[in-house]
């Protein structure tokens, strides 16, 4: 084994202490952000959705397009209704999970996080495609474990919700389940 980093955590203990603090600051920042966006009570879900509001739906849709690399000839995340599918899953999940996921979306959108990951000050939805990719890449490989966790949450949900839909199958050559009749 030639890896220089600690095989277990991927970072040294001193860094861990420091990042632990940064990590909690980020959670606090996310909380503050959330408080800014939802002054006292939560916004209403977007019409047709049960949990995500207008803004959260927009962030998620932008994340999904980037994760799924929508290119000409393949259905967009909206065509597969990734947002609606994630929302349906959230609706069946405990309230804490719903709040954490909403918080994650706001944290990801937030320009401050962009500064911390050195990927620019603009919010995610306002950023150009290349800079959106850079933001996701920074979270994917971040030394801050909270960001890696957040990346996985978004990637897995988008991947699962998109590719479970028959609409997505033609573009990847999956013929669908066999006909047993």
């Amino acid at each position: 084994m030639v890896s220089r980093e600690d095989p277990v955590s991927g970072i040294t203990r001193r860094q861990l202490v420091r990042r632990g603090i940064v990590g909690s600051l980020l959670f606090a920042a996310a909380g503050a952000t959330a408080a800014f966006w939802w002054p006292t009570r939560r916004r209403r879900p977007r019409p047709g959705l049960r949990v995500l509001d207008e803004r959260e739906a927009a962030i998620l849709s932008a994340v999904a397009d980037t994760v799924l690399a929508i290119e000409p000839g393949v259905p967009s995340a909206d065509a597969v209704d990734v947002v609606g599918r994630v929302d349906a899953l959230l609706a069946r999940s405990p309230g804490d999970v719903q709040r954490e996921f909403a918080r994650l979306l706001h944290l990801f959108e937030n320009g401050t996080t962009g500064l911390i990951t050195a990927t620019g000050w603009t919010s995610f939805t306002a950023a150009a495609p290349a800079s959106r990719e850079a933001r996701l890449r920074a979270w994917q490989t971040s030394r801050i474990s909270l960001f890696r966790t957040g990346f996985q949450a978004m990637k897995r949900l988008c991947g699962a919700c998109y590719y479970s839909s028959p609409v997505s199958w033609a573009a990847i050559g999956y013929p669908g389940p066999p006909d047993l009749a």
Binding site: M1, V8, S93, D96, S145, A160, P177
Partner: protein, 518 residues
């Protein structure tokens, strides 16, 4: 093929309109292999048995091979269960039949080396291959366990066979519990032709034929005790469409209680009920066979989503003294599971998905729990009554992860793969043996490399020493006279093989002894 008849004496949550209190001889929590065979043994011996299952009752007409329906409906936490940091994806069944409704049919007995280790290191007594043999014989007959024919090996499994052969690694054909299998490959989504001999088609109807009553959508919240006895189990009736308590409760008073809610949930129920745990061992030492995956692109069609999964396996690297061993199998790969599991995002993820028809997939299951440095998983609670689950990683795990990934890459390259794509974040692309060495450099820190588990074990281990074991070798709780655990949570370490036959054999042994004792 079975007629797909409903289990008699099965009550769904929606049929329970008001609070109910029941009396029984035996109350069993959970209807996976552990609970189902215990229900059958005890009902056949004349006991009035009640089984409480939190999942729904789902059968063939609903199994339409759609991931978007099956995963949220038939898996724990709608298939979103994971460690707290999301670094290990936990696939675990949750319906009448438990994991057997969705599992991949591999049917292997516990390796003798594992049984010997338990005896030597964990003071397990009487759980021997000889004692288990008659139970295994009967289980294998009932579930029609048999070795697949040559012609049933799909291209995905063929790649493992070819690669292992070329490299001189041992491999074997893996027995399966199926009758008249038509090789759809959709085992993980609920068998669409009732070929898989899951519990809802075998031991549960057998138990019901002897009078056992099975309640679906009933989640046991807690056990109540008096002195050294458990007196009742209180369950919430769930509204299946919202997966929330519907209002009514179901209370079962019984002479004997058997917890078969599976690893993670059985220890959690013990904790939630506040049962004594002076040595703080409940929910610790949870083992997962932490599972690494590797994908390989070929120049020919593989169609890893069709054909029987896991017909070929290799235990060549199972025993690595002083290190964590691993075994190799070949999973099914339908688009949703692939989309969730593939590393990367954007163009690299899309490219991997477009290659799916030409992709072969291998998994390496790490045999955890045998080294002193390992602590395994810990079950607990975080805010809002939510499950907390963490898994401890030491240097031995990192070493085994890397070795396992290198081995899988070598096998696929030897089998003629054009390139191997790893599950690192971001993924590595490997074309030659020289490339394989890059795995040594890549991070295996949490969430830098995909890890999965479909085999949860431990958390309420058996053994004669109450300082390290929750139940004794007959699976009775050390501190309660009428409380038993019969499921995967009693294993003191992981197994080194897929768990269902071990769980069935051991629960059968313990339930038969209990039935005899009366």
């Amino acid at each position: 093929m079975s007629a797909g008849a409903e289990i008699p004496n099965l009550v769904r949550g929606r049929d329970i309109g008001a609070d109910r209190i029941l009396d029984a001889d035996v109350a069993i929590v959970g209807s996976g292999p552990g609970g189902s065979i215990a229900a059958y043994r005890l009902a056949a011996a004349g006991a009035r048995v009640v089984v409480l299952e939190e999942g729904g009752y789902h059968t063939r007409p609903e199994f339409r091979m759609q991931e978007e329906w099956s995963y949220p409906t038939l898996y724990q936490d709608h298939a979103n269960r994971a460690t707290d940091d999301l670094s290990i994806t936990v696939l675990q069944g949750r319906s009448v039949g438990g994991g057997t409704t969705v599992n991949w049919t591999t049917s292997l007995r516990t390796p003798p080396t594992t049984l010997d280790f338990w005896k030597r290191a964990r003071r397990v007594e009487g759980v021997t291959a000889e004692a288990l043999a008659p139970h295994w014989d009967e289980v294998e007959r009932r579930l029609n366990v048999h070795t697949p024919e040559e012609g049933e090996i799909n291209e995905n499994n063929r790649a493992l066979l070819d690669g292992a052969k070329r490299l001189g690694y041992g491999f074997e054909l893996l027995p399966r519990n199926v009758s008249d299998c038509v090789l759809t490959g959709m085992c993980g989504l609920g068998c669409p032709v009732d070929a898989k001999q899951a519990m809802h088609l075998t031991y549960l109807p057998d138990a019901a034929a002897h009078g056992a009553v099975i309640f679906a959508n009933c989640r046991v919240r807690r056990l109540t005790r008096r002195g050294r006895r458990v007196t009742e189990a209180a369950a919430d009736v769930l509204d299946e469409s919202r997966d929330r308590p519907a209002g009514p409760t179901l209370t079962v008073r019984a002479r004997t209680f058997i917890l078969s809610a599976g690893a993670i949930n059985t220890p959690r129920l013990l904790q939630r009920s506040g049962l004594p745990d002076p040595y703080r061992i409940v929910g610790r030492r949870t083992w997962l066979h932490p599972t690494l995956a590797s994908a390989a692109h070929f120049d020919r069609k593989i169609e890893p989503y069709f054909g029987a999964p896991q017909t070929v396996g290799s235990h060549h690297f199972a025993i690595r003294p002083g290190r964590i061993g691993f075994f190799l199998e070949t999973p099914p790969a339908q688009p949703m599971l692939a989309g969730l599991a593939h590393a990367g995002f954007g163009p690299e993820h899309r490219r991997a998905m477009k290659e799916l028809p030409n992709t072969a997939v291998l998994i390496a299951l790490l045999i955890d729990g045998f080294l002193d440095e390992e602590h395994g998983g810990t079950v607990g609670e975080r805010g809002g009554g939510r499950l907390s689950f963490r898994y401890d990683r030491g240097p031995a795990l990192a070493e085994a992860m890397r070795e396992a990934m290198k081995t899988m890459a070598r096998i696929h390259l030897a089998a003629g793969a054009r390139e191997v794509v790893t599950f690192h974040e971001p993924p590595l692309r490997l074309r030659t043996e020289r490339d394989v060495a890059r795995i040594d450099e890549a991070s295996v820190a949490p969430n830098r490399c995909g890890v999965f588990t479909a085999h949860q074990m431990g958390g309420a281990p058996m053994g004669e020493d109450p300082g390290i074991a929750v139940v004794d070798s007959r699976l009775k709780h050390h501190f309660f006279d009428n409380l038993y655990v019969m499921d995967g949570s009693v294993f003191p370490t992981s197994l080194g093989v897929n768990p269902q036959i071990s769980i069935l054999g051991l629960s059968s042994l313990a339930a038969s002894a209990l039935a005899k004792a009366g």
